[in-house]
Amino acid sequence: MKTVYARPKLLKEADFHYCPGCGHGIITRLLMEVIEEMDLQGEAICVAPAGCGMLLYNYFEIDVLESAHGRGAAVATGIKRVRPQNLVFSYQGDGDLAAIGTAEGFHAANRGENITVIFVNNGVYGMTGGQMAPTTLLDQVTTTTPTGRDAGLAGHPVRICEVFAQLDGTSYLERVAVNKPAAVVKAKKAIKKAFQRQVDGAGFSLVEILSPCPVNWKMGTLEACTWIDEVMVKQFPLGVFKEAPC
């Protein structure tokens, strides 16, 4: 018997705290798979957010720095400006990047900082119990939009990739998903590409990952994955939004 898939060595022994069926688990795993395959354990430095992704230092066998909520892109900028030879990436949820951290994310992108932002978009605030996120869809029910998100009251869902594509400083922006095996494969490729581009000095990259949150969406795990295909991608189309020549 030959092993064709094993747990990445760069994942610590700790069990993930994520809910059953949570996309964070897949993304956390993919990141260590990629860093292991690229042999970048000695270079990688991750900036962890506030939110469901806040315990990455319990899972990653790489250097990790906690950031205050939303500040990940600024913190990553500070690290990268000191150590440009390192692979520096932030891991940020939809509240972290698209609400409180919008200025920091936008301007790190605008300055063309040679960092990678892993942007986990699950359309809701998971850690705090399911409140509206900037990426929550219209009519989507959350604990702070109990009758469904109303545009007049709460605005429209924010498309980060499309917005950041307007900035000349961005170099590579792709939106992927982790709701089915083929999508997970593509997501991993996008992460690998973003990291390789950083190593090559290409400039700011962001991989937005549509991720299921079955508990706060109040759906079954498969239902959540299907909902991404049937509903979420209509608002957040998958694909490459910017790919500047390297």
Binding site: Q41, G42, E43, A44, I45, V47, A48, M54, L55, Y57, F60, E61, I62, D63, V64, L65, E66, S67, A68, R71, A74, V75, A76, T77, G78, I79, K80, R81, V82, R83, N86, L87, A103, E104, F106, H107, R111
Partner: protein, 355 residues
């Protein structure tokens, strides 16, 4: 040189390699100086998008092992409070400069001393302290900058340099010859990539409250150590003083002018000038209370340091206060008149218990 420019040069000479700042009056000259100077010494300058971004860039740079600085004024310092709390919790070194202006709110752009509480009480959340250094001249500012970087690295804690708008703008002769670049500290905790060593992380979230408590006591032990070792102050004509002025920074410069005139008239007034606002020279003031009955606190604020003076005295002696908030800078003659009146009053009340 102006205080702002001298501060920038002193930072460069102290080994600051990364500066992140956002424009705000009256410290823009610091940001502009660093913009010109950093590239020339192989350093990094970023004009950040906000003061929040700047303090977080400082945090990232400090975590990666660099000597990093940011500067701002009142409203911008308010924005930085979260970042400062995180810096303390992460035990990261950083130098943060506040050229204080009139407040609260948008305030004024003139120099003031109304951020004393914010600096010394810790405007951010949680149990913490930052070292606070208050220079009173441009020359002293250039000496305090290397001290700030050294203390920050030595204790792995942010250090605030509390200047004010006047200090930043005023032009005085400066001598950099005596400036000694603080030696580099070993930073095995810095995040440089897990090469040839196990992965490490820096974070402050501790769900387990007993562990969080332990962490807090660890920080408190550090603060007690700083209190023991790093108090700095200057006394002026206190040996025979019957009234001692307590003032810092520009306030002390004005007070010195008033004291000169008072002394010419035979009034026995002296001054103690705290240089570290935290740790505050509690013991020195307590000791003065053995021979001095009247303390006259002067601040360019509505009264903040006066509370620390009262704390230090623990009910002994008599505390007088005079303050002008909002960015008003009184002339020495005004202070001379007010102190005269209080001095006369203190001596007229002969039946008051003496120290």
């Amino acid at each position: 040189m102006s205080g702002n420019a001298a501060l920038g040069e002193a930072a460069v000479l102290s080994g600051c390699t990364h500066y992140f700042g956002y424009p705000i009056t009256p410290q823009n000259e610091i940001t502009e100086y660093m913009a010109r100077r950093m590239p020339g010494v192989g350093g990094v300058f970023i004009q950040s998008e906000s003061e929040i971004a700047a303090i977080n860039m400082v945090l990232g740079a400090a975590a990666a092992g660099a000597r990093s600085m940011t500067s701002s004024s009142g409203p911008g310092m308010s924005l930085k409070q979260e970042g400062i709390s995180y810096l303390v919790a992460d035990e990261l070194p950083a130098v943060i400069v506040n050229m204080v202006r009139g407040g609260p709110g948008m305030g004024s752009i003139a120099g003031a001393q109304s951020d004393y509480f914010q600096a010394t009480r810790g405007g951010g959340h949680g149990d913490y302290r930052t070292i606070v250094l208050a220079p009173a001249s441009v020359q002293e500012l250039t000496e305090i900058v290397p001290l700030a970087f050294d203390l920050a690295d030595k204790y792995r804690n942010p250090v605030i340099i509390l200047g004010d708008g006047i200090l930043g703008q005023m032009m005085e002769p400066v001598d950099f010859d005596g400036l000694v670049r603080p030696s580099d500290y070993d930073k095995p905790w810095a995040l440089t990539g897990a090469k040839d060593r196990p992965a490490q992380s820096i974070y402050s979230l501790i769900f387990d409250v007993k562990l969080q408590e332990e962490k807090n006591w660890k920080l408190q032990r550090k603060f007690r150590l700083i209190e023991q070792n790093e108090v700095r102050f200057e006394t002026h004509l206190v040996d025979d003083a019957e009234m001692v002025v307590v003032a810092y920074g520009i306030g002390a410069r004005i007070a010195k002018g008033a004291i000169k005139r008072l002394r010419e008239e035979g009034k026995k007034v002296g001054m103690i000038r705290p240089i570290t606002l935290w740790p505050f020279p509690m013991q020195a003031i307590r000791e003065l209370a053995n021979t001095v009955n009247d303390f006259f606190v002067f601040e360019m604020s509505a009264g903040q340091m006066v509370e620390d003076v009262r704390l230090a005295l623990e009910g002994r002696g008599h505390v007088h206060f005079y303050g002008r908030p909002g960015g008003v800078v009184p002339m020495p003659v005004e202070l001379y008149r007010i102190i005269s009146r209080h001095y006369f009053q203190a001596h007229a009340d002969d039946d008051r218990p003496r120290a």
